[in-house]
């Protein structure tokens, strides 16, 4: 298989879109080659959620009351866990230098990598969420809202997470640092995500929560790649 990062046959530099597509395909192919990464994230998600019935007791009333929060918090922690591989492999094999020199702004390269990260982390979590939620006795009427809130909110988790991953690149205890750095930035996502599900459970309109959540994702899309790119440049100097 040819290296998608290599220049075309004529030696000409590829265009912006092709570069970003190549980055995306390369990251996806790498994760496909190591499917253990996705399994580990999903396993962490399920195990973390399993701790709650064991910790607070298996009573269905209690569980269904806290289910949406447990699913959201476990998904958030699973995303945190997955972030250390976002830029680390690129840094170790020298691809990060190549990406910084690629014929595309580094912030857009970050977006391409975040899309790959979301497809291999956020999307599996959304698919797995109903199973975990049903184990937690969630009201089946709010399952759709739960999945929708995750679909709208997890892109923000991946985008903001890219900042943390870029800033801790090469740090001592980088993975342990990540929760402390990212928690303050993740909390609004968690609050509005759970807020949407709670609103649905109480028969209230979910629109405002989902719109605020979407606004968070859009804001993160606008700003986080710039901050992450600045962090990557700092790591390269």
């Amino acid at each position: 298989m040819s290296d998608p990062m290599a220049p075309g046959p004529s030696g000409a530099t590829p265009g912006l879109g092709r570069t970003l597509l190549a980055v995306l395909r390369r990251d996806l192919a790498r994760t496909a080659g190591r499917s253990g990464d996705v399994v580990a994230v999903l396993a962490f998600f399920v195990v973390a959620a399993t701790l709650f019935p064991l910790g607070v007791g298996p009573g269905p009333q209690v569980l269904s009351r806290i289910a949406s929060g447990v699913v959201w918090a476990s998904a958030l922690l699973a995303v945190l866990l997955s972030l250390d591989r976002l830029f680390d492999t690129d840094r170790n094999d020298g691809a990060l230098e190549a990406l910084a020199l690629a014929p595309a702004p580094l912030a857009l390269v970050v977006v391409a990598k975040v899309v790959a990260h979301w497809l291999t982390t956020g999307l599996p979590l959304i698919v797995a969420a109903p199973v975990v939620a049903i184990m937690l006795q969630i009201d089946s009427a709010v399952l759709g809202t739960l999945m929708l809130s995750l679909a709208v909110g997890t892109p923000a988790l991946s985008l903001i997470g890219a900042i943390g991953a870029a800033l801790t690149l090469g740090a001592r205890r980088g993975a342990a640092l990540m929760p402390l750095l990212l928690l303050p930035l993740y909390v609004p996502v968690l609050i509005f995500g759970v807020g949407a599900v709670e609103a649905a459970a109480n028969g209230l309109p979910t629109g405002p929560h989902l719109m605020l959540l979407g606004a968070g994702s859009v804001l993160a899309l606008a700003l986080a790649p710039l901050a992450a790119a600045a962090g990557l440049r700092a790591a390269l100097d």
């Binding site: 800033l167 001592r172 640092l177 303050p184 930035l185 909390v187 901050a227 962090g231 700092a234």
Partner: protein, 241 residues
């Protein structure tokens, strides 16, 4: 070796400011505490326990003011690479974290008699706790690299990103109708607080600000000396002397 943007001038300025600011700050705090704790009348609703306000409110103001200073210094450092801005940021962070901790602890002490609980997860308290985490994250991230410059840049970016939390803190009591009382001093022409209670508060705020400036100058001076010592050490090692 790195040449810092005129640290001599910066050092001279902070030497000039350091002593007077610290002394004036301590004096104002002493006067403010006396007026607030002994002269101001008890609150008609909260009795004597409202007096912790004279520590709590200025500390909470300072926690946000210091973060704004941290973010601005970090931005200046990131944009223009002025080393002195990084010295300032490094000096501000622990002082800001300390004021945030004071605000959280004094708030808990105030909350216990008023609300019957040390802690509630209301919007203002939670967002200030997150501000405290941001300060901690800044300091730990700064420390987590072998190269001080790499740590300074990573932490600087974090400080700038964390600014999004400031408006959330400021407006949390207005946006969410929670247990925490809304701002009292928001209307400067006619604040909803009696002058005999207001004056000590303003003195305390000014005192805290000056003390903060004094502490930051002291820490910045220590940092400048440390950097100079490192440079001299490095030169000695390289020069073989």
């Amino acid at each position: 070796m790195h040449r810092y943007a005129n640290p001599t001038l910066f050092g001279r300025i902070i030497d000039r400011v350091r002593g007077p600011a610290t002394l004036a700050g301590l004096a104002l705090i002493a006067v403010g505490l006396y007026l607030g704790l002994f002269v101001a009348p008890p609150d008609y609703q909260q009795g004597e326990s409202f007096r912790i306000m004279y520590v709590h409110v200025p500390a909470a103001w300072m926690s946000m003011f210091a973060y704004a200073g941290l973010a601005v210094s970090s931005a200046v450092y990131l944009i223009w690479r002025h080393g002195v801005a990084d010295v300032a940021a490094k000096a501000i962070a622990p002082a800001g974290a300390a004021f945030t901790a004071i605000a959280l602890v004094s708030g808990a002490l105030w909350g216990q008699p008023m609300w019957g609980t040390w802690w509630v997860w209301d919007a203002r308290l939670t967002s200030v706790l997150l501000l405290f985490f941001l300060y901690l994250g800044y300091m730990v991230l700064r420390d987590a690299f072998d190269s001080p410059e790499r740590g300074a840049r990573a932490a600087g970016i974090l400080a700038v990103v964390g600014v999004v939390n400031l408006p959330i803190i400021k407006f949390s009591v207005d946006w969410w109708n929670t247990l925490h009382q809304p701002a009292t001093i928001s209307k400067l022409d006619a604040p909803s607080i009696h002058p005999s209670m207001l004056w000590p508060l303003l003195l305390m705020a000014l005192g805290f600000t000056l003390l903060f400036v004094g502490i930051v100058c002291l820490r910045a001076r220590a940092e400048l000396l440390e950097r100079r010592a490192r440079t001299i050490e490095m030169q000695a090692a390289l020069g073989g002397e």
